[in-house]
Amino acid sequence: MTYKEKVLDEIKKDKLKKLWEEICDAYEKGGSDGIESLLNSKIEKVKKEYNQLLNDLEKIL
């Protein structure tokens, strides 16, 4: 059993399984840097949107 399968075995939630598969995929393609990029890209996108929404709401104040 590979590391991927072993961890997948321990996970119960589907969303967590999906995240794990994404991480393994990123790792296979780009190593630990690949994982870093994956997670950062997920968060950077929403960060931008978040800041924009905050700006719009601040204007109302």
Binding site: I43, L54, L57
Partner: protein, 734 residues
């Protein structure tokens, strides 16, 4: 990893022959055969021994043995720092590995080119039945035949130098890291590293903080606006509005009222008002107020009384200015005039001064004449006396001038005459000088008089000019008998009286216009109040907006993602610990056996390895002896080396049936071992060589000798020496 049974029909694979060309330390084609159970590669550092072992590894596993995922620290790096495959003097690296099993022989050929002629990598496998596979098909076939992943390979087949070296380091965190790699857990570590390096938790915290700050701003905005509203409402009440009138309806009603007032006012003053439209909504109030103010100003300015008032005020200001100028100039002129008169009184007028100057001039002339007359007379007398003296000698006698008895009367008279003349001339000259001084003084006075006259005249001209201006202002001629100051004063008084009458007349109109202005203030205040109410409503409803809901959703999603990641990290660490413990449990007996055999230390009757959660929940390996004590801090370098080797060999033997690789590779295993330990290690190797072929690389001559003396299986010994960059090593077989 699950222990698998050795099934009938499945054979152990052994390396038969290796051929390298252009790979790492081998610029030229070199072959090595592995025909015996034990193969020893001996030579100093940088002679190519490890390159041989790396070639086997690379041929079997290709890119898996490079980079971070290999789990081998020295293989991590990119660009210039990357682990080089191709020899510096070559364009292509080719490794060919012949492998034999009982039922299956095959050859793997792997190449890598750096691109002067061709760039890229190839992999080929030639099977016994003549089939040839390439590319991904070949990789699949290799995996199938080996039944060992790269992690299995480095855990239980190929003992890297680095494994021993890193393990010997005493720092616990690095030892644990070395153990994880030894147990094939580097993937977990790398994944945790990637997760840890990401910004996810930092950003989640940042977003949460921003959200909290926004909540605070929201609260403050409400408070401030509410405060402003109350203040303005109070002000509106003071201005006479009711609390229930503070709305848009009242605002619009007031606007209509203002328009009516403007029209009434315009009618009152007899001017047409411009049309002003009432605001359709409260938002148009500012432009309405501006239009009202502009129109009020215009009407007021056009009003006849106001115009007259302005005109009279201007006239009054002018009269005051002229009066002031006149009085000032009159003062100056009078002062000059009086000064002139005083001067004349004191020194006489111009005629008198001229007369005095002429008189003195005459006197001076007279003196000059006298001086001129004295000289010839004196000369005559002198000549006469000289003639007398020459004609008859002078006798002693009394002087007729001074009465003195002198011996030489003529001589005495001559002298006396000279003296007399000189005295007269001196006197006259003195008189003349005095007269000349007096004349100069009079001339200066005359000049002064002329200056005074000029200045007085100048001031007179200025005064006349002002009088002329006053005359124009009053529109009447002024004579010398008129007092312009009094006349102006009277004029000012008249104007003041008229202004008072005008003021009385326009008072009511002023009140009306002020009323309009007051209403515009009210309407402005109502506008601000309505504006604030609208704003407050918006702020109060902010949490119902789409934007706010999206914001909350994003925050929650990020929070969930962070939560998932944290859960995943926990799970990874649990799996890591479980796997480590499982492997160790399965191999513990062998590890213990090998360790005690190699070290032969009476202090250690048993060695146990336990996996616990260390710092950050990463694996921490606890080594305990039979008494539960921890020997690692007091182990020598040799003992630590032995422990690392024992773990490797223990895993290699325990899991030997889980794959098809029937050999073990050891690179410099004798680091830090003393002679007895080396001997005992060789005994262990000898035991293992019963079930596996062994390939050992060493630079240690003592270890070589020990191998020669104590390995009972058939051996091949290759000596590596004289490595040169363009040739590689010289390999001789012993």
């Amino acid at each position: 990893m699950i222990l698998k049974k050795y099934y009938e029909g499945e054979t152990m694979l052994k390396i038969k022959k290796l051929e390298v060309n252009g790979f790492r330390g081998f610029p030229q084609k070199t072959s090595i055969e592995f025909l015996n159970p034990v193969t020893i590669l001996y030579g100093g550092n940088h002679q190519g021994k490890s390159s041989v072992l790396n070639a086997i590894e690379w041929c079997l596993y290709g890119d898996e043995c490079i980079g971070e995922k290999s789990g081998i620290r020295e293989r991590v790096g990119t660009g210039e720092m990357s682990w080089r495959i191709i020899n510096d003097n070559c364009d292509t690296a080719i490794v060919k590995l012949e492998i034999e099993g009982e039922n299956e022989n095959f050859t793997i050929i792997r190449t890598l080119s750096n691109g002067k002629s061709k760039k890229g990598k190839t992999i080929k496998i030639l099977l016994q039945n003549g089939t040839e596979k390439e590319g991904s098909e070949a990789e699949q076939e290799i995996k199938k035949l080996l039944r060992a992943s790269f992690k299995d390979f480095i855990t239980s087949v190929y003992q890297h130098q680095e494994t021993i070296r890193d393990f010997v380091i005493q720092k616990p965190s690095e030892q644990s890291d070395a153990m994880d790699r030894l147990l094939g857990l580097s993937d977990y570590r790398n994944i945790l590293k990637g997760i840890n390096n990401s910004n996810i938790s930092k950003i989640q915290k940042f977003l949460a903080e921003k959200f909290d700050r926004f909540q605070e701003n929201l609260k403050n905005a409400l408070k401030i606006r509410q405060g402003d509203l109350e203040e303005k409402e109070n002000k509106a009440i003071e201005m006479g509005l009711n609390i229930d009138e503070l709305n848009e309806d009242k605002l619009l009603e007031l606007a209509e009222s203002i328009i009516n007032d403007i029209n009434s006012f315009a009618f009152l003053i007899g001017i047409n008002a411009k049309k002003i439209s009432a605001p359709s909504t409260w938002e148009n109030t500012p432009s309405f107020i501006k239009a009202v103010k502009d129109e009020c100003e215009r009407l007021w300015g056009e009003s006849p009384e106001v115009k007259e008032q302005i005109e009279k005020n201007n006239k009054r200001s002018k009269a005051i200015a002229l009066k002031s100028q006149y009085e000032t100039q009159y003062g100056i002129y009078t002062t000059k005039k009086e000064g002139l008169q005083e001067f004349i009184q004191k020194n006489g007028n111009e005629d008198k001064i001229d007369y005095d100057i002429n008189k003195i001039s005459q006197q001076i002339d007279n003196i000059d004449q006298k001086i001129r007359q004295i000289s010839p007379k004196a000369k005559l007398i002198d000549e006469g006396i000289s003639i007398l003296k020459s004609s008859a000698p002078s006798e002693a006698n009394n002087c007729p001038l001074c009465g003195q008895f002198v011996s030489d009367l003529l001589d005495h008279l001559q002298k006396k005459l000279k003296e007399e003349i000189q005295t007269q001339i001196a006197q006259l000259k003195n008189e003349k000088a005095q007269l000349e001084e007096r004349k100069k003084t009079l001339e200066n006075l005359k000049e002064e008089l002329n200056n005074l006259k000029e200045e007085t005249q100048r001031e007179k001209v200025k005064l006349d000019k002002i009088i002329n201006q006053i005359s124009n202002f009053l529109q009447k001629e002024l004579t010398d008998r008129d007092d312009p100051s009094s006349i102006l004063q009277k004029e000012i008084k008249d104007i003041d009286s008229k202004l008072q009458k005008i003021e009385n007349a326009i008072k009511s109109k002023r009140d009306k216009i002020n009323e309009i202005y007051k209403n515009t203030e009210k309407i402005n205040l109502l506008y601000e109040i309505v504006q604030l109410k609208v704003k407050l409503e918006k702020i109060n409803q902010i949490k119902k907006t789409k934007e706010y809901k999206n914001l909350e959703k994003i925050k929650d999603d990020v929070s969930k993602l962070t939560g998932f990641v944290e859960e995943l990290v926990k799970t990874i660490k649990i799996c890591m610990q479980k796997e480590a413990q499982t492997k160790i449990n399965l191999a513990t007996n062998k590890i213990d056996y090998y360790f005690r055999k190699i070290t032969d230390n009476p202090a250690f009757q048993k060695i146990n390895i336990r996996v616990e959660k260390g710092k950050g929940d990463i694996n921490q390996y606890i080594f305990e002896d039979q008494d539960g004590k921890r020997p690692v801090p007091v182990l020598s370098q040799g003992d630590l080396n032995s422990l690392a080797l024992s773990i490797f060999l223990g895993l290699a033997v325990t899991f030997s049936d889980s794959h098809h690789l029937g050999f073990i590779i050891m690179d410099d295993p004798s680091q830090s071992l003393d002679p007895e330990q080396k001997t005992r290690l060789i005994e262990v190797i000898n035991e293992i060589s019963e079930i596996k072929n062994i390939i050992v690389a060493t630079y240690d001559p003592e270890f070589l000798q020990c191998l020669k003396d104590n390995i009972s299986k058939l051996k091949s010994i290759y000596i590596f020496s004289n490595w040169l960059p363009k040739r590689g090593p010289i390999i001789s077989k012993e």
